[in-house]
């Protein structure tokens, strides 16, 4: 009864969420080592969008526009992309613990991105993203195959086997990454890569946002086009097929989308954990389990969550910026524990 009630009342929530996102972006642009008043932030925005044109402090403009806003936008895209990937994986694998990070997909993406960088195939974001995509698909295939060979099916045991396979995959790909760095990277490359691996938004600028935005938008669009199929997986793949879902095409499209979103976000920011786990579950409590509502809610909440985590990572220890992955893990690990305990039944 309760779930339906919340679900029915959710239409209002959905309209609030874009406002929350705008508010979060403004906070992201205003809060930091030097606090910039919201009025200045708005002035910079207005002048950048050509609404007003009177001269601004170039320092304010540089901090707000080139540094903080770019960073907030990338954080939002990254949160949206990872959260949508989480929803997709949870529905297709029927596993409430499925998440790109826990399933080793992020680790595979890191390996791919590092390989491309070290091999000198171009340090550009596009080539790194393509390497990351290949790595993400390789990691997913490895984990899925391992879970299958280990006899993982439905139910509590199957869910556990999948997560174990994810751990094995993550360890394997992280070791590969470390090996590639030790073997092939020069000292300067190695330092840069280690910094990036921890999940870091410090180096992010607008060109990253121009890549992150279309990818986040496209993954949202794909997920929205498949909300009925995602729902149809509730009783398993066979049931989805008997409801008219073309399993091969749908799974290929959705897993490809999740892998691409994860890969591009990892290429830009490094592997950031738990977003794809925490956000969809929180949204299920707010808007229910039907994907028509869950997908847009998760996208927006993921974006807001990540922007706020980034803000916290910048202010929690004065004078020091924590890797954002630390903050998401501090929120995510307890949530993971809660889901595990609740899943016991």
């Amino acid at each position: 009864m309760r779930a339906t009630h919340l679900g029915a009342g959710s239409a209002r929530w959905v309209w609030l969420m874009p406002l929350c996102l705008i508010a979060a972006l403004l906070i992201g642009a205003s809060v930091g080592e030097t606090r910039i008043p919201l009025a200045t932030v708005l002035e910079v925005l207005a002048s950048k969008l050509g609404v007003i044109d009177h001269p601004l402090s170039t320092l304010d403009e540089a901090i707000v526009w080139h540094y903080r806003l770019a960073r907030a936008v990338v954080a939002a895209c990254c949160g949206a992309g990872l959260a949508v990937s989480g929803v997709i994986l949870q529905a297709l694998l029927r596993n409430s613990l499925a998440d790109p990070y826990l399933l080793g997909i992020s680790a595979g993406a890191s390996t791919g991105a590092v390989t491309v960088t070290v091999a000198g195939l171009g340090a550009g974001m596009i080539s790194m993203s393509m390497g990351a995509f290949a790595g993400a698909l390789a990691a997913f295939s490895f984990v899925a195959l391992l879970a299958h060979l280990a006899g993982g099916g439905q139910g509590v045991r199957g869910a556990g086997i999948l997560i174990l396979a994810g751990i094995a995959g993550a360890q394997l790909f992280n070791a590969l990454t470390a090996f590639i760095i030790a073997h092939s990277a020069n000292a300067e490359q190695a330092r840069g890569i280690m910094f990036w691996l921890l999940g870091n938004l410090s180096a992010v600028r607008w060109p990253d946002a121009w890549l992150a935005m279309p990818v986040a938008g496209a993954s949202l669009a794909v997920a929205l086009s498949q909300v009925r199929s995602l729902d149809a997986f509730a009783f398993g793949a066979e049931s989805a097929a008997s409801l008219g879902v073309n399993l091969r095409a749908t799974k290929g499209l959705l897993i490809g989308t999740a892998a691409l979103a994860t890969a591009v976000m990892v290429a830009i920011t490094g592997a950031i954990g738990f977003v794809g786990l925490v956000v969809p579950h929180a949204c299920r409590l707010l808007v229910g389990v039907r994907h028509r509502r869950l997908v847009p809610a998760t996208t927006l909440c993921g974006a807001v969550f990540m922007v706020l985590c980034d803000v916290v990572s910048r202010v929690v220890i004065p004078g020091q910026v924590l890797p954002i992955g630390v903050i998401t893990a501090l929120v995510g690990a307890p949530a993971f524990a809660y889901l595990m305990v609740r899943g016991r039944r």
Partner: protein, 260 residues
């Protein structure tokens, strides 16, 4: 039951193997519009596998299944889902769906990818819930439903799919006797064709025709009285059974003895 010439669904020499074992072996079968066909056989006889083959969920290794003379392999999943619905033997979920949510899934093949939910979809869902007497429990979460209530929701989901053919795998499992009889009556009353895997032979007696399956092969196909002979029941189940006339009804009763 007058049988029209062209079958709704036909299987020709359908075989299926997995792990080197032949699970369904050369099944020839015509299902005619409007009839209720019962499928009986011991555990592991291949009933569920045969239903999956008929539903196009498994591709037969040999042979072919046709719906209205179109090979299933040439139809899209969506086209098939508009023609037939499957109620599987075990289908569970951890999602916090309500009974109504689960029934609404039955509308999937009729909805456009982005197309919105229409009044006729709600009407179909309401009708389906009512048909299985689950209207009052429509807003209950899945986890709170009893086994029999879940089974009825699955049947309602198939009903909301508005198929011409319903494939049901032991639909009366978990149901109390009232709802067993109600579901069998509902299946017979619906203007659809049904293929029903059954364990309860008294329900098989109420079908129009019965197919007996043993080790993946058809051992008998005909009217219930032709098929449910003491000799066949001995072959299938290793029990002594005979039909006795019910002094107060039309359908005979089955009396069992374990083979001693």
């Amino acid at each position: 039951m007058s049988e029209p010439a062209a079958p709704l669904l036909s299987a020709r020499n359908v075989s299926f193997s997995a792990s080197g074992q032949t699970l369904v072996d050369g099944v020839d079968l015509d299902v005619f519009a409007g009839e209720t066909l019962g499928v009986i056989g011991p555990n592991g006889a291949g009933k569920s596998t045969l239903l999956r083959l008929l539903a196009g969920l498994l591709p037969p290794g040999i042979g072919e299944v046709r719906f209205e003379d179109a090979p299933l392999s040439r139809l899209s999943r969506r086209q098939i889902a508009r023609c037939m619905a499957l109620v599987a033997q075990q289908a569970e979920t951890d999602e916090r769906l309500t009974a109504r949510d689960a029934v609404e899934l039955g509308r999937t093949p009729w909805l456009g990818r982005l197309g919105s939910w229409r009044a006729e979809d709600t009407a179909a869902v309401d009708r389906a819930l009512k048909a299985v007497e689950m209207g009052a429990l429509a807003d209950r979460p899945w986890a709170s439903l009893s086994g029999g209530e879940r089974q009825r929701v699955h049947i309602a989901r198939a009903h909301a799919q508005q198929p011409q053919l319903m494939l049901l795998d032991e639909p009366t499992n978990h149901l109390d006797i009232h709802h067993q009889l109600a579901i069998v009556a509902l299946i017979k009353a619906l203007p659809i064709t049904a293929v029903v895997a059954l364990h309860d032979l008294s329900h098989a007696l109420r079908c129009d025709r019965v197919l007996a399956l043993l080790e993946g092969r058809v051992v008998a196909l005909g009217t219930p009285l032709e098929v449910l002979t003491p000799a066949l029941l001995r072959t299938l189940f290793g029990v002594e059974a005979r039909l006795v006339d019910d002094p107060e009804g039309d359908t005979p009763l089955i009396a069992f003895n374990r083979r001693g």
